[in-house]
């Protein structure tokens, strides 16, 4: 809670884990999606949650942030139960895509600056430090020269970098990223991988939900693989397996729904409609 928060990781050996899921269960419309996940993510770790579509990986990540409620079990963030957690400025969430709000345009800079919402007081004007943090965040993703452009003029990969910059602007020490590589071209993927590697060097905690490791193979310290809402692998990242796992492979994602809301079956064309129906809190 220190006011002088620097964005550096918490390196004291007895620091509580950044995230802890204890026997986490979650369901959409009574269909179980998480079936008792136990997960401990130590502070400072760069780890990936992997799994096929419908394995529950996105749901787990959303549950860890309180976006999706658990039906039973517990989530702790930096040692505090989710319900009582108030130190949100430590968390930098990178959603799967820029929803582009409604039809109102917004500049790259406006979007990035909005990442500071959790650390700024109401009615306060932006300070020099706030603006410097936005500049730094833009520079970190190589978008300084696009600051004044409307985000919708950017490519998908650039928009993804805007979202990472938005998380960076709040100077958090704990990042949660939902498939940051999905729909991003190879060059932007490498830029993203560099940015994530820098976060790791700074000692930040980085939790990534990924479809495949791709160019992040060398950055990830630990991988947890989910299947049917359970962790089936926890340890070193799994070996690259087949063409799809190779870095730079341009993957055609079969699921049209960006929220990947995890019915437990493998994706088929027939169930995409079900997927759509089962996303709560979406208008």
């Amino acid at each position: 809670m220190s006011a002088q928060f620097t964005g550096e990781g918490d390196h004291t050996p007895d620091a509580p884990p950044a995230f802890q899921a204890i026997d986490a269960h979650a369901a959409y419309d009574g269909v179980p999606v998480l079936n008792g996940v136990d997960l401990r993510i130590p502070s400072g770790q760069t780890m990936a949650v992997l799994g096929p579509n419908g394995s529950g990986k996105s749901t787990l990540m959303r549950a860890m942030l309180g976006i999706v409620p658990l039906t039973s079990g517990e989530i702790r963030i930096h040692g505090t139960p989710l319900r009582r957690f108030r130190d949100w400025k430590r968390i930098g969430y990178v959603p799967q895509r820029l929803t582009a709000g409604g039809a109102v345009p917004a500049t790259v800079r406006e979007i990035v600056a909005s990442g500071q919402v959790a650390r700024r007081r109401r009615l306060s004007l932006s300070t020099k430090a706030d603006r410097a943090a936005v500049d730094d965040a833009l520079a970190a993703v190589d978008l300084s020269d696009r600051a004044g452009d409307a985000v919708r003029e950017l490519s998908g990969g650039q928009q993804q970098r805007v979202l990472i910059a938005r998380a960076l602007a709040g100077r958090p020490d704990t990042f949660v990223m939902d498939e940051p590589m999905a729909g991003v071209d190879a060059e932007n993927q490498r830029a993203l991988a560099r940015a994530i590697a820098r976060l790791r060097e700074q000692g930040s905690t980085v939790v990534l939900v990924l479809h495949e490791l791709g160019p992040l193979e060398n950055v990830i310290e630990r991988a947890v693989v989910l299947e049917h809402g359970r962790a089936v692998h926890d340890g070193a990242p799994p070996e690259a397996d087949g063409e799809c796992a190779r870095p730079g492979h341009e993957h055609q994602h079969p699921h049209p729904d960006p929220n990947d809301p995890d019915p437990r079956v493998a994706p088929t064309d027939a169930h995409t409609e079900i997927v759509r129906l089962e996303v709560p809190h979406r208008d």
Binding site: V104, A118, H281
Partner: protein
């Protein structure tokens, strides 16, 4: 030109028009961003029930409209979240409930008929009483204060509700706050353009401004200018040409929108030709459409 200032009713009408032109586009910018452009319409219909209630109980219709519209806005947010009714269906429920309630109550009011409602449906800025002006001033100050205090959070909420949650923002509270603020804005604008056209002043200036802007802030600023110009211009025109003020204001705003579309198109073409900010090579989102890239693919 100054002769319209000699009439007391016109002085009041001008004050109301300035406040409406100022406040409605500001809240409208957030509503458009949140894809709740029709929320103002739904609340406007509910406000009609409030008006009828005021006439029935011989209290100020503006006050009862404010109370009922606020309750309606809260109710709609709850319906939307609790019962999984989609936003547009929740709005439809408001539309019909509000109109039916208004007509029913006005029928119970001695000496009043549906014709009494007409001035509220289409606005009658020239009959604004002095006490109405004070209520409108207070509401306008309140709305602007709320937006000044919570604007940053509302921006995040309207941009992406999940991100707002992950920032630990009070999403439920902010949603209701926005809906209530919209309800009070509807009441402010009700006397000037009428409940059926309230939403027009929230949406059209924003729709026009976004043709000419790439930033949220500039869009809001331009929308306020357009809102003020339309409401003052429309009121003045209607005074000299003996036209219905509410309709004149709305049509003037629509005219500005049409001009903005043309000017915006020309501006975009010019900047594209100059290549000042070259469009990215890989892009699923052309500049002049509002939706983003195709998610499922790496290349378009």
């Amino acid at each position: 030109m100054t002769e319209l200032l000699h009439y007391e009713f016109m002085q009041r009408a001008l004050i109301a028009a300035v406040l409406v032109g100022l406040v409605t586009p500001v809240i409208g910018t957030f509503l458009v961003q949140r894809r709740l452009a029709l929320l103002g319409d739904g609340i406007g219909h509910v406000a009609l029930t409030g008006v009828a209630l005021g006439l029935l109980t011989s209290t100020s219709p503006v006050v009862t409209a404010a109370v009922v519209a606020t309750l309606g806005a809260v109710l709609m947010e709850l319906v939307r979240v609790r019962t999984r009714t989609s936003g547009d269906v929740a709005l439809a429920l408001l539309f019909y409930g509000g109109i039916a309630g208004g007509v029913l109550l006005i029928g119970l009011t001695p000496g009043a008929s549906n014709a009494t409602l007409t001035s509220f449906l289409f606005g009658s800025v020239s009959t604004v009483a002095e006490e109405d002006i004070w209520i409108v001033v207070v509401l306008a100050v309140g709305v602007l204060a709320v937006l000044a205090i919570f604007g940053r959070e509302l921006f995040v909420l309207c941009q992406d509700e999940e991100v707002a949650r992950a920032h630990g923002l009070p999403v439920r509270f902010l949603s209701i706050l926005l809906a209530v603020t919209a309800a009070l804005t509807v009441v402010i604008a009700m006397r000037v353009v009428g409940v059926l056209m309230v939403s027009a002043l929230m949406i059209i200036p924003v729709a026009a401004a976004q043709q000419l802007s790439r930033s949220f802030r500039v869009t809001m600023g331009l929308a306020v200018l357009i809102g003020l110009a339309s409401s003052l211009g429309g009121l003045t025109t209607s005074f000299y040409s003996d036209l219905a003020p509410g309709a004149t204001i709305v049509l003037l705003a629509l005219l500005v929108y049409c001009v903005a579309v043309v000017v915006g198109g020309v501006l975009r073409r010019v900047t594209r030709r100059r290549g000042s900010t070259p469009l990215p090579p890989v892009s699923g989102s052309p500049t002049d459409t509002m939706i983003q890239t195709d998610r499922g693919k790496v290349t378009p």
